[in-house]
């Protein structure tokens, strides 16, 4: 794929659209009644590896804002910002992965998942609850629990969906080496 600032602009736009659609419509019922599993962070992590930290931050930030808008409950800035922080941090943490060149080996899987684990922990274990307490003066223990449940669910979905996406993308790149027809 070609690289140019315009590609990044478009990637952010399409990424945010995908983030929105996944977050708003692709609801996988979770074991806890009335809650759904957020798949959009898997997508966000995948696109961040491809397009870098700025794209990652903006995809999550814009996508999350649009989701909040569409539910009509106002904009939950604390969580929106946490989403953006995840994209940004993960962008830096995953810089070594050369997915754009079609490389995603065992080492990269490990690197990808350690990075996403750490970044999610910072976003949902630190940024979101702190902002929640600061902005809304909600009780700390409630906020931490809420964020932690959300964070763990995001870690799990990123691990599965994100990893599968990266693997699929790497394999979808035109194969190197020669393939032989079998009789």
């Amino acid at each position: 794929m070609k690289k140019s600032p315009i590609v990044t602009v478009v990637a952010i736009g399409i990424g945010a659209a995908l983030f929105f659609v996944l977050g708003r419509f692709v609801a996988i019922p979770s074991p806890v009644p009335n809650t759904n599993i957020a798949l959009q962070y898997g997508l966000c992590a995948f696109m961040t590896v491809l397009f870098g930290p700025v794209a990652g931050a903006l995809i999550a930030f814009i996508g999350h804002t649009l989701i909040d808008f569409s539910y009509g409950w106002g904009i939950w800035w604390s969580w929106v910002i946490a989403s953006g922080v995840f994209g940004l941090l993960f962008g830096f943490a995953s810089k070594k992965i050369k997915l754009a060149d079609g490389e995603f080996g065992k080492k990269d899987i490990l690197r990808f998942n350690i990075a996403q684990l750490c970044c999610h922990l910072v976003a949902w274990g630190l940024v979101a609850p702190t902002l929640d307490v600061l902005m809304f003066a909600e009780p700390a223990n409630k906020v931490y629990l809420q964020c932690l449940v959300g964070g763990i669910s995001n870690i799990v979905t990123t691990a599965i969906v994100g990893t599968l996406l990266c693997l699929a993308y790497a394999k979808a790149k035109p194969g190197k080496g020669s393939l032989k027809e079998e009789k």
Partner: protein
């Protein structure tokens, strides 16, 4: 004569990632006010040539350039892509991709916005450009509210807001129904007369582009220019056929009839071609010599719709009392304009939506009780874009997916998948990743993934979209072979050649109803049906008239039978 606005001199190009040059020794010049058609099979280099003209090469796609390309007298690689875009305006094939504004007006304004054009000039120029292509009444519409033809008009307006000197169209007919395609070619012609710009059309549907006059046709293959001449010269020779480009049907018919097609007969248009008394007599003689194909015995009804009504939640009535029957072993085309109800009908069959009234029967059984999964065991549905269906990385797994989700034992899966791969000609690639396949091969994989469930009917949405003649033939021969093995095939399509050459009959939708269900030769010579379904009269019919054959429909039928019997086998 004015100076060429675009001039390639011994130009070559090699992408960085590729081992071989994509363009070799290209010499080509285009003057202002000229109209050029560039054709060639897939991979011949015509898209790369287009990228060179509009500046995507070398500014977005990097590679090695040899020779020289000047645009308006200046060497292209010394200009920037933005400077080139002031001279060359491009209308891309993917109208949804090119439509980047939220509304028609904003999309037309896009280039001006980037040039920081302010009020009131901005609104003024948008209105003018919109009026030029006839979308001035839709300025506040979102892309979702427009038809494919309208989107293309908006794309054209979007480049006409700047006074470009070259208009470049990349496969302008690919996503349009026949009647809309005809209008597009007429519009391009009018715009050229109005603006005096040079027009370059890249398209492999030769006959449709030649609907209006073209100055020169450039034929490419293997990265080289094989011919750069008038349409008349090219049609008279054998180069087109040798390079996998389909000739206009009337030319093919004339050649079958033994009429010699020479450039001085001006064969570029069915209305103007000079046919001597002797030529006409030959065509008549050929018509009478071909025996009519034996009629096929009638088979039992497999699929029936009775009074089916369906309206979407937004109130749009998509099917208004549809009744039709599909018989076992048929290979039929489903045609009609966008919004006529074709895709809604497919969705109802597959169980994605449920009709409000009426019944659908499969082999006499009411389908209401069947789940999506159960229907899929009987009716297979193949989407237009294989990339939207393929979810596994290995071919074997992709084909096996439907069986695995049905809990079939792995032993049996192996047997059935292998058998299907053999039927589909994918056996040599069984251990390849899907990504190593061409577009046409991927299409086969998606068909294989459906076939493995052993449905009695498969429905294909535009099975040959975006394929050149060779790949088109490959896919269609494959479907024909499946059909001979007893699979009933329904093809939703805009492609009139496909109808004529392969479909036994055509089921025509209009306004949510069935308006015709008859052999294709009958449909394509029936004026009312043609108009209502946005089809186009076949040039064979005109040829028949010009040769004094009264029964044009029979002539078209003879042509189809002859192709099937004499040529293909």
């Amino acid at each position: 004569m004015n100076d060429p606005i675009i001039r390639f001199e011994h130009f070559s190009f090699q992408y960085h990632a590729q081992a071989e040059p994509t363009l070799h020794d290209v010499c080509l010049s285009v003057r202002k006010g000229e109209k050029l058609l560039i054709c060639g099979p897939s991979g011949c280099g015509k898209s790369t040539l287009a990228h060179c003209i509009n500046g995507l090469i070398p500014f977005s796609y990097k590679g090695e350039i040899g020779g020289s390309l000047t645009i308006a007298g200046r060497e292209s690689r010394e200009l920037g892509i933005f400077e080139i875009s002031r001279t060359v305006g491009t209308v891309l094939q993917d109208t949804d991709g090119q439509f980047v504004g939220l509304t028609v007006a904003e999309d037309i304004a896009f280039a001006l916005e980037n040039d920081c054009v302010g009020e009131p000039e901005l609104h003024e120029r948008v209105r003018t450009a919109a009026a030029l292509v006839g979308v001035e009444d839709h300025l506040s519409h979102a892309p979702g509210e427009l038809s494919g033809g309208q989107k293309q008009r908006v794309s054209l307006a979007g480049i006409l807001v700047d006074d470009v000197e070259v208009l470049l169209f990349d496969e302008p007919l690919a996503n349009l129904d026949p009647a809309t395609g005809k209008q597009a070619i007429e519009l391009i012609d009018e715009i050229q007369k109005e603006t005096g710009a040079a027009v370059i059309i890249i398209e492999h549907r030769l006959e449709d582009v030649l609907h209006r006059h073209v100055d020169r046709v450039v034929l490419m293959n293997g990265g080289r220019i094989l011919a750069d001449t008038t349409p008349d010269e090219l049609l008279a020779g054998e180069l087109l056929r040798e390079n996998g480009i389909r000739e206009p049907l009337y030319i093919t018919a004339l050649k079958y009839a033994g009429v010699s097609v020479t450039a001085d007969k001006r064969p570029d248009h069915i209305e103007t071609i000079e046919l001597s008394e002797e030529d006409q007599a030959r065509v008549r003689a050929w018509f009478q010599s071909v025996p009519p194909a034996p009629e096929k015995p009638e088979t039992p009804v497999l699929l029936a719709a009775e009074g089916v009504r369906f309206a979407y939640p937004n109130g749009r009535e998509a099917l208004a009392g549809l009744s039709l029957a599909v018989r076992e072993g048929e290979l039929s085309a489903v045609v009609g304009t966008n919004g006529a109800g074709k895709s809604t009908f497919c969705k109802l069959l597959c169980g994605f939506e449920t009709q409000q009234e009426g019944t659908l029967r499969f082999a006499g059984q009411d389908m209401a009780e069947l789940s999506i999964k159960e229907r899929a065991d009987r009716i297979g549905y193949v989407m237009q874009n294989p990339n939207q269906m393929i979810s596994q990385t290995m071919i074997f797994d992709e084909v096996a997916l439907g069986l695995r989700t049905r809990g079939v034992p792995e032993e049996e899966i192996r047997r059935r998948v292998e058998e299907t791969l053999k039927v589909c000609g994918l056996w040599p690639f069984r251990s390849w990743p899907v990504s190593a396949l061409s577009f046409g091969q991927k299409k086969r994989v998606t068909i294989a993934a459906i076939l493995v469930l052993e449905p009695q009917i498969i429905i294909l949405d535009e099975p040959t979209a975006g394929q050149d003649y060779r790949h088109y033939t490959e896919i269609m021969e494959f479907l024909l072979a499946l059909n001979r093995r007893g699979v009933t095939v329904l093809m939703v399509t805009h492609d009139m050649h496909l109808m004529l050459e392969y479909a036994g009959r055509a089921i025509v939708f209009s306004g949510g109803r069935l308006i015709a269900d008859a052999p294709c030769a009958e449909i394509l010579t029936d004026e009312t049906v043609i108009r209502r379904a946005s089809l186009k009269e076949t040039s064979l019919y005109t040829l028949a008239q010009r040769c004094g054959i009264d029964d044009g429909q029979a002539f078209v039928q003879r042509f189809i039978d002859y192709e099937r019997e004499a040529v293909r086998t």
